[in-house]
Amino acid sequence: MNDIKKDNIVLAEAEAKVESKPEAKVESKSETKVEESEKITVPELLTVTSSPHLRHRDSTRTIMLEVIFALLPALLWGTYVFGLRALLVCIVCAGSCYIAEYVTQLILKRPITVSDCSALLTGLLLGMNLPATAPAWLAIVGSVFAIVIVKQLFGGLGHNVFNPALAARVFLTMAWPSYMTNFTAPFDRLLFSSADAVASATPLASLKHGALPDASLLDMFLGKIGGTIGEVSALFLLLGGVYLLIRKIITWQIPVAYIGTVALLTFLFPQIDGVARWEFMLYEVLAGGLILGAFFMATDYVTSPSTSWGRVIFGAGAGILVVFIRYFGGYPEGVSFSILVMNSLVWYIERITRPRVFGGAKKKHA
């Protein structure tokens, strides 16, 4: 690590030197123009470039690409389980998000920033939140909603209050519930048409009706279950999540607090009689989009708190909401709602967990 940093410093210094020369010339030229009588040339040694001098190759683009890379195993598994159509749905989503972002920025006369790949990631996440039977128009409408309404109308990347992919998923679920819950059985692979899909109940639906799913815990973990394209395989999602943690793209607080809260609450208050507590807990944790949401969507930089304790509160709050919605709500799944609700509270969480200014006075505890 240190070697790389040193290299970076040397590189940055070298760049700074290279950059400083033409700037100095320009400056001296303009000054000579203004004051032609007194020739003042700026000595090159005194030219200072502003910080940062230490640079890192991280940019929005590389981070987005790393997250997309981390999602690929789960996407490939989804394609393996649900057929080529699953991959097509994701491609349609990613493509229409990309085009929607480009066109919106063109119309709103904003700088075109599609090359940062954030729209591609939004599209991919949205696609992985749809069932494999989703028609193309559903995917396109969801993508346009995510990019235009949720992201660009709020000011673009960095200004959106809500996670665009999740907001679009909720919008689609409320707009066309029948299309959004048309889940196929695993290994009933679809090629292009969704006409011959065999409908199947997801593990979450059976849990909602007070019965353990047919699938074994191992099947749940590997992803041999019905559900949306990206949420089924806990194994591959964890793989991608751990990769993001190791690469320091995300921090551990949100996923751990989120999944931990759900695990704790479902362990303390199991809803099915005659089942071991830990078994019920594992089913609840592995079912639905909890792991996908915890690692890939709750951790979205823009819509999650930036303080460590804020992230813990954010994750725990979302976890409590998921369990409440799953137990008492109208919908079987509460992950998207829980994250969206916590998104809207981020400003408050950040305010109450704001770190003390270094050297500032300690807060008085009443």
Binding site: I149, L153, M174, A175, W176, P177, Y179
Partner: protein, 226 residues
Amino acid sequence: MTLSGLAKQFRSGIVDNNPVLIQLLGMCPTLATTTSVSNAIGMGLAATVVLTCSNILISLLRKFIPKQVRIAVFIVIISGFVTAVELLMKAYFYELYGALGIFLPLIVVNCIILARAEAFASKNPVLPSAIDGLSCGIGFTLALIVVASIRELLGNGTFLGFQVFGENYPAAVVFILPAGAFLTLGCVIAAVQTLKNKADAKKSEKEAVAEAVANAAQAAAKEVQE
């Protein structure tokens, strides 16, 4: 007040100071009764009648109403008209009466009506007050119709009950739900604000140009004199 002043005031209530889209008053009926265009028209017209009548009566009584209890007096007058409208609707438009439900009696506490009574009718003569009530009512109705058209078209595929997109249109139920009401209203307000900002910018640009021209003319005139 001159005729052009009245015309300007009429325009103000509908466009420049639209109660819903610019002043953001009366959000509750706007969100709740715009599930269909016919409901929106019914709600808008009922509120317009109440608004105009209460404005006229309050303007007539403005010198007799004691300042300390004016809000209570306004509410009594407004609720009288609301009761009349409600009974009329029950007698002649029973279906609409059923569809609007609780929101019809709730016109009593519609803040547009109270706002016009307090801010305008209690301080101005009868004719301007009547024009003010009518224009604000029409502005309210038009805003409701715009929001309701979008919601009914997208959420049900119909306009005033007629099929527009054909039988196979997969209706986006969310637009009939409360979430869709907020979504639609937010987008409509954003669009109106954008248009307004553009119009304002054009206006100030025109004024700036006119000022520059006037200044240049003055300067030229001075030069000629010299």
